[in-house]
Protein backbone atom coordinates (compact mmCIF):
# COMPACT_ATOMS: atom_id res chain seq x y z
CA UNK A 1 0.00 0.00 0.00
CA UNK A 2 2.24 2.78 -1.24
CA UNK A 3 1.63 6.49 -1.69
CA UNK A 4 1.61 6.17 -5.50
CA UNK A 5 -1.06 3.47 -5.36
CA UNK A 6 -3.28 5.59 -3.11
CA UNK A 7 -2.82 8.63 -5.35
CA UNK A 8 -3.62 6.74 -8.56
CA UNK A 9 -6.59 5.00 -6.92
CA UNK A 10 -7.95 8.38 -5.80
CA UNK A 11 -7.59 9.79 -9.35
CA UNK A 12 -9.32 6.74 -10.84
CA UNK A 13 -12.21 6.77 -8.35
CA UNK A 14 -12.77 10.53 -8.62
CA UNK A 15 -12.73 10.40 -12.42
CA UNK A 16 -15.08 7.45 -12.79
CA UNK A 17 -17.47 8.60 -10.04
CA UNK A 18 -17.71 12.02 -11.67
CA UNK A 19 -18.29 10.36 -15.06
CA UNK A 20 -21.26 8.50 -13.65
CA UNK A 21 -22.81 11.38 -11.69
CA UNK A 22 -22.35 14.66 -13.62
CA UNK A 23 -25.28 16.25 -15.45
CA UNK A 24 -23.52 17.52 -18.58
CA UNK A 25 -22.58 14.56 -20.77
CA UNK A 26 -19.49 16.20 -22.28
CA UNK A 27 -18.15 16.70 -18.75
CA UNK A 28 -18.95 13.03 -18.10
CA UNK A 29 -16.72 11.93 -21.00
CA UNK A 30 -13.89 14.23 -19.87
CA UNK A 31 -14.08 12.82 -16.32
CA UNK A 32 -14.16 9.29 -17.76
CA UNK A 33 -10.93 10.06 -19.63
CA UNK A 34 -9.30 11.10 -16.35
CA UNK A 35 -10.40 7.87 -14.69
CA UNK A 36 -9.12 5.73 -17.58
CA UNK A 37 -5.74 7.49 -17.53
CA UNK A 38 -5.51 6.70 -13.80
CA UNK A 39 -6.29 3.07 -14.55
CA UNK A 40 -3.60 2.96 -17.25
CA UNK A 41 -1.10 4.37 -14.75
CA UNK A 42 -2.12 1.61 -12.31
CA UNK A 43 -1.38 -1.02 -14.99
CA UNK A 44 2.04 0.57 -15.59
CA UNK A 45 2.69 0.57 -11.84
CA UNK A 46 1.86 -3.15 -11.71
CA UNK A 47 4.50 -3.82 -14.37
CA UNK A 48 2.18 -4.55 -17.28
CA UNK A 49 3.62 -2.07 -19.78
CA UNK A 50 1.85 -3.26 -22.91
CA UNK A 51 -1.58 -3.33 -21.24
CA UNK A 52 -1.04 0.19 -19.90
CA UNK A 53 -0.18 1.56 -23.34
CA UNK A 54 -3.05 -0.38 -24.93
CA UNK A 55 -5.39 1.10 -22.33
CA UNK A 56 -4.30 4.63 -23.26
CA UNK A 57 -4.52 3.92 -27.01
CA UNK A 58 -7.84 2.07 -27.01
CA UNK A 59 -9.83 3.67 -24.19
CA UNK A 60 -8.46 7.21 -23.93
CA UNK A 61 -7.76 7.47 -27.65
CA UNK A 62 -10.69 5.63 -29.22
CA UNK A 63 -13.57 4.78 -26.88
CA UNK A 64 -13.74 8.19 -25.17
CA UNK A 65 -13.58 10.01 -28.53
CA UNK A 66 -16.24 7.67 -29.93
CA UNK A 67 -18.51 8.39 -26.94
CA UNK A 68 -17.92 12.15 -27.36
CA UNK A 69 -18.90 11.92 -31.04
CA UNK A 70 -22.00 9.88 -30.17
CA UNK A 71 -23.01 12.52 -27.60
CA UNK A 72 -22.59 15.32 -30.15
CA UNK A 73 -24.45 13.45 -32.92
CA UNK A 74 -27.41 12.61 -30.67
CA UNK A 75 -27.51 16.13 -29.19
CA UNK A 76 -27.42 14.74 -25.66
CA UNK A 77 -25.15 17.52 -24.40
CA UNK A 78 -28.02 19.94 -23.96
CA UNK A 79 -29.42 19.93 -20.42
CA UNK A 80 -32.62 17.92 -20.66
CA UNK A 81 -34.60 15.61 -18.45
CA UNK A 82 -32.80 12.68 -20.07
CA UNK A 83 -29.56 13.57 -18.32
CA UNK A 84 -31.05 13.18 -14.87
CA UNK A 85 -31.12 9.85 -13.14
CA UNK A 86 -33.99 7.48 -13.84
CA UNK A 87 -37.02 6.79 -11.68
CA UNK A 88 -35.29 4.05 -9.69
CA UNK A 89 -32.08 5.98 -9.10
CA UNK A 90 -32.03 5.38 -5.35
CA UNK A 91 -32.60 1.63 -5.53
CA UNK A 92 -29.96 1.27 -8.26
CA UNK A 93 -27.36 3.01 -6.08
CA UNK A 94 -28.43 0.84 -3.14
CA UNK A 95 -27.98 -2.35 -5.22
CA UNK A 96 -24.49 -1.21 -6.27
CA UNK A 97 -23.57 -0.49 -2.64
CA UNK A 98 -24.77 -3.94 -1.55
CA UNK A 99 -22.74 -5.56 -4.35
CA UNK A 100 -19.66 -3.63 -3.23
CA UNK A 101 -20.20 -4.62 0.41
CA UNK A 102 -20.44 -8.32 -0.50
CA UNK A 103 -17.33 -8.17 -2.71
CA UNK A 104 -15.35 -6.22 -0.10
CA UNK A 105 -16.28 -8.76 2.56
CA UNK A 106 -15.20 -11.64 0.30
CA UNK A 107 -11.90 -9.90 -0.52
CA UNK A 108 -11.25 -9.09 3.15
CA UNK A 109 -11.86 -12.64 4.38
CA UNK A 110 -10.28 -14.32 1.36
CA UNK A 111 -7.01 -12.53 0.70
CA UNK A 112 -5.97 -10.74 3.88
CA UNK A 113 -4.52 -13.95 5.35
CA UNK A 114 -2.73 -14.71 2.08
CA UNK A 115 1.03 -14.25 1.94
CA UNK A 116 1.74 -12.81 -1.47
CA UNK A 117 5.26 -12.97 -2.79
CA UNK A 118 6.58 -9.82 -4.41
CA UNK A 119 8.96 -11.03 -7.13
CA UNK A 120 8.19 -7.97 -9.35
CA UNK A 121 7.55 -9.85 -12.62
CA UNK A 122 8.11 -8.08 -15.90
CA UNK A 123 5.93 -8.20 -18.99
CA UNK A 124 7.95 -6.19 -21.48
CA UNK A 125 6.56 -5.48 -24.93
CA UNK A 126 9.10 -7.94 -26.37
CA UNK A 127 7.88 -10.78 -24.12
CA UNK A 128 4.25 -10.01 -24.91
CA UNK A 129 4.99 -10.04 -28.63
CA UNK A 130 6.79 -13.39 -28.44
CA UNK A 131 3.93 -14.90 -26.40
CA UNK A 132 1.35 -13.56 -28.88
CA UNK A 133 3.21 -15.20 -31.76
CA UNK A 134 3.78 -18.55 -30.02
CA UNK A 135 1.23 -19.62 -27.40
CA UNK A 136 -1.59 -17.22 -28.29
CA UNK A 137 -1.62 -17.26 -32.10
CA UNK A 138 -5.13 -18.70 -32.41
CA UNK A 139 -6.79 -16.19 -30.02
CA UNK A 140 -4.95 -13.41 -31.86
CA UNK A 141 -6.39 -14.52 -35.21
CA UNK A 142 -9.89 -14.85 -33.72
CA UNK A 143 -9.64 -11.35 -32.23
CA UNK A 144 -8.63 -10.04 -35.65
CA UNK A 145 -11.68 -11.68 -37.19
CA UNK A 146 -13.93 -10.29 -34.43
CA UNK A 147 -12.59 -6.76 -34.88
CA UNK A 148 -13.15 -6.97 -38.65
CA UNK A 149 -16.72 -8.15 -38.07
CA UNK A 150 -17.29 -5.35 -35.54
CA UNK A 151 -15.89 -2.77 -38.00
CA UNK A 152 -18.21 -3.90 -40.80
CA UNK A 153 -21.17 -4.29 -38.43
CA UNK A 154 -20.75 -0.84 -36.89
CA UNK A 155 -20.48 0.69 -40.35
CA UNK A 156 -23.63 -1.05 -41.59
CA UNK A 157 -25.60 -0.13 -38.45
CA UNK A 158 -24.64 3.54 -38.56
CA UNK A 159 -25.28 3.86 -42.31
CA UNK A 160 -28.17 6.02 -43.52
CA UNK A 161 -31.38 4.04 -43.67
CA UNK A 162 -32.53 5.54 -46.97
CA UNK A 163 -29.57 3.99 -48.76
CA UNK A 164 -30.46 0.55 -47.44
CA UNK A 165 -34.15 0.85 -48.24
CA UNK A 166 -33.61 0.86 -52.01
Amino acid sequence: MTISFLLLAAITIIGTAAAMSLKNLVHCVLALTLGLVGLAALYLQLGAQFVGFTQILVYVGAVAILAAFAIMMTRSAEPTKTNESSSFGLSGTLIALIVFAVMAWAIYTGTSALQVAAPQPEASVHQVGVALMHNFVLPLEIIGLLLTAALIGAGVLAMEESRRAR
Binding site: A19, S21, V51, V58, V63, F88, P121, L132, L157
Partner: protein, 103 residues
Protein backbone atom coordinates in the same frame (compact mmCIF):
# COMPACT_ATOMS: atom_id res chain seq x y z
CA UNK B 1 -4.34 -6.05 4.34
CA UNK B 2 -1.71 -6.68 1.69
CA UNK B 3 -1.04 -5.08 -1.68
CA UNK B 4 -3.23 -7.54 -3.59
CA UNK B 5 -6.34 -6.81 -1.53
CA UNK B 6 -5.83 -3.08 -2.12
CA UNK B 7 -6.05 -3.60 -5.87
CA UNK B 8 -8.98 -6.00 -5.49
CA UNK B 9 -10.88 -3.50 -3.33
CA UNK B 10 -10.25 -0.72 -5.86
CA UNK B 11 -11.48 -3.02 -8.62
CA UNK B 12 -14.62 -3.92 -6.66
CA UNK B 13 -15.31 -0.22 -6.08
CA UNK B 14 -14.87 0.57 -9.80
CA UNK B 15 -17.27 -2.27 -10.63
CA UNK B 16 -19.83 -0.85 -8.20
CA UNK B 17 -19.51 2.64 -9.71
CA UNK B 18 -20.06 1.18 -13.18
CA UNK B 19 -23.02 -0.88 -11.96
CA UNK B 20 -24.62 2.14 -10.28
CA UNK B 21 -24.18 4.18 -13.46
CA UNK B 22 -25.60 1.45 -15.69
CA UNK B 23 -28.61 1.03 -13.38
CA UNK B 24 -29.46 4.65 -12.64
CA UNK B 25 -28.61 6.78 -15.69
CA UNK B 26 -31.26 7.32 -18.33
CA UNK B 27 -29.02 8.19 -21.26
CA UNK B 28 -28.07 5.12 -23.30
CA UNK B 29 -24.51 6.37 -23.95
CA UNK B 30 -23.82 6.66 -20.23
CA UNK B 31 -25.20 3.17 -19.61
CA UNK B 32 -22.72 1.89 -22.20
CA UNK B 33 -19.91 3.80 -20.44
CA UNK B 34 -20.94 2.16 -17.16
CA UNK B 35 -20.62 -1.27 -18.77
CA UNK B 36 -17.16 -0.30 -20.04
CA UNK B 37 -16.19 0.65 -16.47
CA UNK B 38 -17.27 -2.78 -15.22
CA UNK B 39 -15.11 -4.43 -17.92
CA UNK B 40 -12.19 -2.24 -16.85
CA UNK B 41 -12.61 -3.37 -13.25
CA UNK B 42 -12.33 -6.99 -14.40
CA UNK B 43 -9.15 -6.11 -16.34
CA UNK B 44 -7.60 -4.59 -13.21
CA UNK B 45 -8.35 -7.86 -11.40
CA UNK B 46 -6.59 -9.86 -14.14
CA UNK B 47 -3.48 -7.69 -13.95
CA UNK B 48 -3.38 -7.70 -10.13
CA UNK B 49 -3.66 -11.50 -9.97
CA UNK B 50 -0.97 -11.84 -12.65
CA UNK B 51 1.35 -9.54 -10.68
CA UNK B 52 0.88 -11.25 -7.30
CA UNK B 53 0.02 -14.76 -8.50
CA UNK B 54 2.23 -17.85 -8.45
CA UNK B 55 3.29 -18.08 -12.15
CA UNK B 56 3.80 -14.59 -13.58
CA UNK B 57 6.19 -15.80 -16.30
CA UNK B 58 3.30 -17.49 -18.17
CA UNK B 59 1.82 -14.01 -18.94
CA UNK B 60 -1.73 -15.43 -18.86
CA UNK B 61 -3.30 -12.51 -16.99
CA UNK B 62 -1.70 -9.95 -19.30
CA UNK B 63 -2.90 -11.82 -22.39
CA UNK B 64 -6.45 -12.12 -21.04
CA UNK B 65 -6.50 -8.39 -20.27
CA UNK B 66 -5.30 -7.53 -23.81
CA UNK B 67 -7.97 -9.72 -25.45
CA UNK B 68 -10.60 -8.36 -23.05
CA UNK B 69 -9.68 -4.78 -24.04
CA UNK B 70 -10.05 -5.65 -27.74
CA UNK B 71 -13.46 -7.28 -27.19
CA UNK B 72 -14.55 -4.22 -25.16
CA UNK B 73 -13.48 -1.92 -27.99
CA UNK B 74 -15.53 -3.94 -30.51
CA UNK B 75 -18.50 -3.86 -28.10
CA UNK B 76 -18.24 -0.08 -27.69
CA UNK B 77 -18.14 0.50 -31.46
CA UNK B 78 -21.16 -1.71 -32.18
CA UNK B 79 -23.09 -0.42 -29.14
CA UNK B 80 -22.60 3.24 -30.03
CA UNK B 81 -23.63 2.64 -33.64
CA UNK B 82 -26.79 0.86 -32.41
CA UNK B 83 -27.53 3.92 -30.24
CA UNK B 84 -27.02 6.15 -33.31
CA UNK B 85 -29.38 3.98 -35.38
CA UNK B 86 -32.03 4.08 -32.64
CA UNK B 87 -31.62 7.84 -32.30
CA UNK B 88 -32.10 8.33 -36.04
CA UNK B 89 -35.28 6.30 -35.84
CA UNK B 90 -36.93 7.58 -32.66
CA UNK B 91 -35.07 10.89 -31.99
CA UNK B 92 -34.19 10.03 -28.40
CA UNK B 93 -31.44 8.45 -26.35
CA UNK B 94 -33.64 8.28 -23.25
CA UNK B 95 -33.95 4.65 -22.20
CA UNK B 96 -37.27 5.32 -20.41
CA UNK B 97 -38.79 6.41 -23.73
CA UNK B 98 -37.46 3.45 -25.73
CA UNK B 99 -40.42 1.25 -24.89
CA UNK B 100 -41.45 -0.22 -28.24
CA UNK B 101 -39.58 -2.66 -30.45
CA UNK B 102 -41.45 -1.72 -33.64
CA UNK B 103 -41.75 1.86 -34.87
Amino acid sequence: MNALSGYLLLSAFLFSIGLAGALTRRNAILVLIGIELMLNAANLNFIAFWRYGPHPEALTGVMFAIFSISVAAAEAAVGLSIILAVYRHSRTTDLDQMNSMKG
